[in-house]
């Protein structure tokens, strides 16, 4: 039997704690970015800050470049192709006019994105007109149909890979809601029909088509003119399709970010509500820390990857072993042996997936009841019809009554109590911000909760000092001043990750200059130094610290310092004194340095602030190096 790899992995990964953080995708995604390059896309819209004019084309290309960078971080195994249509030049295997497949050397047309591709697509705008050119592909009197050709080319590119474990998609970017508006009569109906048929064929082959339309300043993108038919939208779906509200770069980027990854469930679980009543849920990982890719060891001479081999060696006899299956723990003057299976059995508490235990008011969920990123739950009727209905009913009740559910999640790696918090849908003009469903929050056990705040309770139990109302008031004034109005968790990108990949891009392309990346997480110094804020800070400071706090602190630091640092200082002084008794140059020249003791050698090192670690020879050579001998 050949199993679906996706399902196989899903069962296996349960056992590994680390897997929780990796969204394992056995399936690959193939995507073709179809970008309209008609002259209309190049009409300047508004001016950017740097004086350059912003066009729809610019917006699209830059969002795509940004999307590719995100993809490298998150899912570098996916393959993509970039196809422009309505171009002057042509570049495609089918030799169709007005379609240009954009590519860089050392890369197939549909392939994983490389550093060069990302770089060139970022700068494609500069040379686009001269090299590729923009030209309407659909004009009356001609049989050419650039949209049809573009879909055809994209479909041909997506022929790669099996249907089973790949997701194939076209992402179509255009600002033309009526591509055949310029032609009349039979030719128009004919072209419309064939294009729609072509799209349908592609969809029949398991390729999904997504439209990312751009509205002009004066006029909304009208989906019902043509594209509703092309996408196969019906009835309400047409009304629900939200074209981009604005036409800004940020909107397109947001939109693309939402569409870039195909929704994937992590696992299907059964939620047992009470005996005999169970519903089916799909779990999704909406939130997992993105990490820099793993490193591979290379041979520094050939740059060829190395394979690592693990060997087990008996510490007593030095014999080479097979991977041991037994573990031991020293206990009570002996070793207690466990088999791996026994350890797994200890962890197994319940076979059920998720079992409801009851409900609590939201106030019972404390800020510190958290251990790991949450998991999102959404109902499915695939296996158990009626699941959605019951889920929605519970969801609404929990929202209305402000309660969360407590359940036991019997995963084999870490069975634990979870809180299920209902989340209502939140939308804004550019789409869904928070999907409706429940978030599963992993709760700590009492063993996991510590009470460090109680450790330092002063020995004399005078009640701890608290802020007075006046001090609180001053603090409140400060809080109101330094207010982030529309804070959203998405607003910071990870500076380390951004730098990591920007550097790799530069290294990969052999660039001499290292890129500069912006750390968005730095505080806004300029904003913080506005007079209003400075005043609020000063007032608060005086209220809680009194005058002259800084001086007091400085003096305190000077006079006391910590014990350790005092000791260190004393030692340094002592060493300096001792060190000055020797004539080091002479000792070296006469070769008598080695006759000194380690303690004596260390006087010199400490006095000159050098490391004092290592064997005697190391100390001597360090002294020699320092003296320049």
């Amino acid at each position: 039997m050949d199993y679906d790899p996706d399902d196989l992995f899903r069962d296996d990964d349960e056992d590994n704690e680390n897997e929780f953080y990796q969204i394992k995708d056995a399936t690959k995604e193939l995507a073709v970015y179809l970008i309209d390059a008609s002259p209309k896309m190049f009409i300047p819209q508004n001016e950017r800050e740097d004086g350059q004019e912003e066009t729809h084309f610019y917006i699209v290309v830059n969002s795509v470049a940004q999307a590719l960078r995100t993809q490298i971080i998150n899912r570098s195994y996916d393959e993509i192709a970039i196809v422009f249509f309505n171009t002057r030049e042509k570049n495609n295997l089918q030799d169709l006019s007005n379609v240009y497949v954009f590519n860089v050397p050392d890369r197939e047309q549909l392939d994983r994105p490389t550093a060069r591709l990302v770089k060139e697509i970022t700068h494609v705008g500069e040379t686009f007109i001269s090299k590729i050119g923009s030209q309407y592909g659909i004009i009356s009197g001609s049989r050419e149909n650039s949209l049809y050709s573009a879909i055809w080319v994209a479909q041909a590119l997506l022929r790669k890979g099996s249907v089973k474990n790949t997701d194939k998609r076209m992402l179509l970017f255009t600002d033309e809601d009526d591509p055949f508006g310029g032609i009349r009569g039979m030719a128009k109906t004919d072209m419309t029909r064939t294009t729609i048929q072509r799209a349908k064929d592609a969809q029949d082959f398991g390729i999904s088509i997504e439209l990312l339309p751009i509205s002009g300043t004066d006029q909304q993108f009208n989906i019902s003119l043509f594209y509703a038919d092309l996408l196969g939208l019906e009835g309400e779906e047409v009304a629900q399709f939200i074209p981009l509200a604005g036409e800004k770069f940020q909107d397109m980027t947001d939109q693309l970010r939402k569409r870039m990854f195909k929704k994937r469930r992590v696992r299907r679980i059964t939620f047992s509500i009470t005996d005999g009543v169970s519903i089916e849920l799909n779990t999704y990982a909406l939130l997992r820390p993105a990490l820099p890719g793993s490193i591979t060891w290379l041979d520094s001479v050939t740059n060829i990857p190395l394979k690592s081999e693990r060997s087990y060696i008996c510490a007593d006899t030095g014999a080479l072993l097979q991977e041991p299956v037994k573990r031991f723990y020293p206990y009570r003057n002996g070793n207690v042996l466990f088999s791996v299976q026994e350890l797994a059995d200890v962890k197994r508490l319940a076979t059920g997936h998720l079992r409801l235990l009851g409900f609590k008011p939201l106030s019972c969920l404390k800020e510190y009841h958290n251990l790991r990123p949450s998991t999102f739950l959404f109902p499915s009727d695939e296996e158990i019809a009626g699941s959605t209905c019951l889920f929605v009913a519970l969801h609404r009740s929990m929202l209305r009554l402000k309660r969360f559910a407590v359940a036991f999640y019997g995963s084999s790696a870490h069975p634990q109590l979870v809180a299920l918090v209902a989340q209502d849908e939140i939308t804004n003009p550019s789409g869904q911000v928070e999907p409706p469903g429940m978030h599963m929050i992993y709760l700590p056990y009492s063993d996991d909760i510590r009470h460090p705040e109680e450790v330092h309770t002063p020995a004399d139990v005078t009640p701890c000092p608290r802020a007075t109302d006046d001090q609180v008031e001053k603090a409140a004034a400060l809080l109101k001043r330094v207010d982030l109005k529309d804070f959203s968790v998405c607003q910071f990108s990870n500076p380390a990750l951004q730098r990591h990949y920007a550097l790799l891009e530069a290294f990969a392309l052999g660039e001499d200059e290292m890129p500069q990346t912006v750390d968005e997480t730095l505080p806004d110094e300029e904003g913080m130094s506005r007079p209003g804020i400075v005043k609020a800070v000063e007032e608060f400071k005086t209220a809680v610290y009194g005058e002259n706090y800084d001086q007091e602190e400085a003096e305190k630091a000077k006079s006391s310092g910590s014990d350790a640092s005092k000791k260190r200082k004393a030692a340094a002084e002592h060493a300096a004194k001792e060190s000055s008794r020797y004539n080091w140059d002479e000792l070296v020249d006469s070769g008598k340095l080695k006759d000194l003791t380690v303690v004596e050698l260390k006087y010199y090192l400490t006095a000159h602030n050098l490391p004092v670690t290592g064997k005697k020879e190391a100390l001597i050579s360090r002294i020699l190096a320092h003296l320049g001998k």
């Binding site: 069962d11 550093a115 082959f205 990854f261 929704k263 005999g276 009543v277 939130l287 490193i295 290379l298 520094s300 740059n303 060829i304 190395l306 087990y312 510490a315 007593d316 072993l321 041991p324 200890v346 508490l349 079992r355 009851g358 008011p361 019972c364 510190y368 958290n370 251990l371 990123p373 296996e383 158990i384 209905c389 019951l390 009554l401 309660r403 634990q416 109590l417 789409g431 869904q432 978030h439 929050i441 700590p444 909760i449 510590r450 330092h456 139990v461 701890c464 802020a467 609180v472 603090a475 400060l478 207010d483 982030l484 804070f487 910071f492 990870n494 380390a496 990591h500 750390d519 809680v544």
Partner: protein, 690 residues
């Protein structure tokens, strides 16, 4: 005395109201001792029980009084005998006076340690506090409490009080209870004491930290509001998963008689070049390769070090924002607590002012955190106020880590309101759900909150330590079943659920849940949960393998059918033939079916599979006509007949004749090369041959 060594004196009430809970107390204490035996072997422990008939303590001898208090175990370094002794605590049958017990305990500690070991001594009182305490010889009870507190404070002795009441079986004088609670609470005001009320066995097990982890700061320094204003703080972990202890790999190489063998296994890694596996590449010849999409970019560590992201250590404020701007489910990690520098009065006041203002305005603070110099990354922290409820504990902040933009996947989900009405609950159903959510209440105001994380112990850890002890005695012991009282964590509380029976029945009736008919029985069993009374171990053995098989069949059904399985070959075949997403399915289906039929006949014993084979053949024939693939069938048919004759499967041929299965003729499928007559004669011909 070792740095973290502790002396602990347990004061256990064994008077009648406690009897019901004593098994749990025994368990809790033995767990405590067991963990001390493992993690802090030099700690000292003593036990005093009270409410006993007998009296045995030095104070009685010296000054008289203090009846019914018995020193069960003198304070000494933990050992296995204590662990064993704890399994059979005596039951008492008189009243338990916790004040007497406290005095006796205090006296023991003072006599043993005198002025030494300040801050490393602890009294732990476990009592139901239902009996009236005796009037002291002089002064009031309050005075007595104050006197004890003063002594404890002077010697740096801490006090943990666990008040266990549970459901009161016998009517108890509320006045006494109130007085006792007041007395005990007075301790927490006057000295370093903590009072916890528990009313079920599970919380009792979670009420006492059985393992002492001395907290370590992860940051000490300034919390920077702006460059002008800084507050001195320390940061600790508030939550951190307590894992099973790390077990070492075991080597059986050394002879069993070797007493000094370490039995350890060393793991060695060697890096070898891909083409020449005999060549080991030395560390200095290796270079790190970083992945960028498909490329691997070699960069030496020196080069990388020079350019990589290096944030400055510090905790800086980015701004305050409304608490509603942060979603609870965005918390990424375990939680930190930010406390003002101990003893720094101004810092304590500053933190208190900001925390209170945040609470009043319902605001939170967003921070940029770099705990150490040289840390590889920054994190975005969310400060929330933690206003202390204890007089002697300063206000502090909790700090949660928020995600970066890269960590979020913005999948789109359909709105519930857009679902067709069949998927939406109607009014009645909604009312049923409302009642359900209200009635299965784990935190009703008149009771202690059930399954409070702060009081719920980890059943896996409990089970591991129990197993460890078992195995130490008996190496081939089996994994013990989960202790009964811990079932409360993994399974619904039968009492709560039976109380809400009517509500549950309404849910059962109002919501129709139907399993997908395509799903096999095994999976059906899985989702219809077992009654919760059955033993977990049995469930395990029964259901273990079934889950797997269930999942596989399920997945093949959920996905489109792409092969012919043993269970429903004909349906599979038809489903595959009907697939239109690729032309390969037809040929794949035909090929699969042929192999299946062939296998059936090949493995047939006395023709027992002939019936099924014929059915499959009929399906294949039908399919081939439908898809206009007559040659595929005809060739196979001829091959089969040939094979049957060789292998003596006359039964099968006979069946073919009775069912009138012939070749596909030109009439049925245009492409066929067989005329109608020839097709009909095919079987006759085969008959003639045999």
């Amino acid at each position: 005395m070792a740095r973290n060594k502790e002396a602990l004196l347990l004061l256990i009430d064994v008077s009648p109201p406690m009897h019901r809970l004593l098994p749990e107390v025994e368990k809790l204490c033995s767990m405590l001792i067991q963990k001390k035996l493992i993690y802090s072997k030099s700690d000292e422990v003593g036990i005093v029980i009270f409410g006993t008939e007998e009296t045995e303590n030095e104070l009685m001898v010296e000054v008289g009084g203090y009846e019914h208090v018995m020193v069960f175990w003198h304070v000494k370094v933990v050992d296995i005998d204590l662990f064993k002794a704890l399994h059979k605590l005596p039951r008492g049958n008189t009243v338990g006076d916790f004040l007497d017990a406290l005095v006796v305990g205090l006296d023991m500690l003072l006599k043993k340690f005198g002025p030494t070991n300040k801050g490393k001594q602890r009294l732990c009182l476990i009592t139901s506090a239902q009996h009236l305490t005796k009037e002291p010889y002089e002064g009031t009870k309050e005075d007595q409490v104050d006197a004890i507190s003063a002594q404890m404070k002077a010697h740096g002795i801490r006090l943990d009080c666990i008040i266990v009441r549970g459901k009161l079986t016998v009517p108890v004088d509320q006045k006494i209870i109130e007085e006792n609670d007041q007395l005990l609470n007075r301790f927490s005001k006057k000295t370093n004491a903590k009072v916890v009320h528990v009313d079920n066995p599970i919380s009792l097990c979670g009420a006492l930290r059985t393992r002492n982890v001395s907290p370590v700061t992860i940051f000490r320094g300034d919390l920077e509001l702006t460059s002008l204003m800084k507050i001195k703080v320390w940061v600790y972990k508030k939550t951190s998963v307590e894992k099973l202890p790390t077990l070492k790999k075991y080597s059986e190489e050394a002879p069993p008689t070797d007493k000094y063998a370490s039995r350890e296994v060393k793991v060695d890694y060697e890096y070898k070049s891909l083409d020449d596996s005999s060549k080991v590449v030395p560390p200095e010849q290796r270079i790190k390769g970083y992945r960028y999409g498909p490329q691997v970019v070699p960069i030496s560590s020196a080069e990388w070090e020079a350019v990589k992201f290096k944030p400055e250590k510090g905790v800086k404020l980015l701004g305050f924002t409304d608490a509603s701007n942060i979603m609870r489910h965005h918390y990424m990690k375990d939680v930190y607590v930010v406390i003002p520098e101990p003893g720094h009065v101004k810092a304590i006041v500053a933190v208190s002012a900001v925390a209170k203002a945040m609470k009043d305005l319902n605001k939170v603070a967003i921070m940029r955190c770099v705990w150490r110099q040289g840390q590889a990354n920054v994190s975005i922290g969310l400060l929330t106020p933690n206003i202390s409820s204890m007089d002697n504990v300063p206000d502090s902040f909790y700090l949660n880590i928020l995600p970066f933009a890269e960590d979020i996947r913005e999948f789109q989900f359909p709105s519930f309101s857009n679902f067709p009405s069949s998927l939406q609950p109607n009014k009645e159903q909604q009312v049923a759900a409302d009642n359900f959510v209200t009635s299965l209440d784990l935190a009703s105001p008149d009771k202690e909150e059930a399954l409070k994380p702060d009081l719920t112990p980890n059943p896996v850890l409990e089970r591991f330590y129990e197993f460890l002890e078992l195995k130490a005695k008996q190496p081939d012991a089996e994994v013990p079943p989960l202790d009964r009282s811990f079932k409360q964590i993994t399974e619904p509380d039968p009492e709560l659920f039976s109380k809400s029976k009517t509500v549950l029945d309404v849910i059962r009736n109002k919501f129709v849940l139907k399993e997908n008919p395509k799903i096999k029985k095994s999976t059906r069993r899985l989702w219809r949960d077992k009654p919760s009374t059955s033993n977990e171990r049995e469930d395990l053995q029964e259901e273990g393998p079934e889950i797997e098989s269930g999942d596989v069949t399920r997945s093949s059904l959920v996905k489109k059918v792409d092969e012919i399985g043993n269970l429903t070959p004909i349906q599979d075949f038809e489903a595959m033939m009907a697939r239109r997403d690729s032309p390969i399915w037809v040929s794949k289906a035909i090929k699969g079916m042929k192999v299946f039929i062939y296998d059936l006949l090949e493995n047939s014993y006395k023709g027992d599979t002939c019936d099924q084979a014929v059915e499959c053949l009929i399906a294949l024939r039908r399919g081939c006509i439908l898809e206009q693939e007559p040659a595929e069938f005809n060739q196979f048919m001829q091959y089969l007949c040939h094979k049957c004759k060789e292998n003596d499967l006359k039964e099968f041929l006979k069946l073919l004749r009775t069912r009138q299965i012939t070749l596909i003729s030109k009439k049925e499928a245009e492409d066929s090369s067989v005329e109608e007559d020839a097709a009909k004669n095919f079987l006759v011909k085969t008959e003639a041959v045999d």
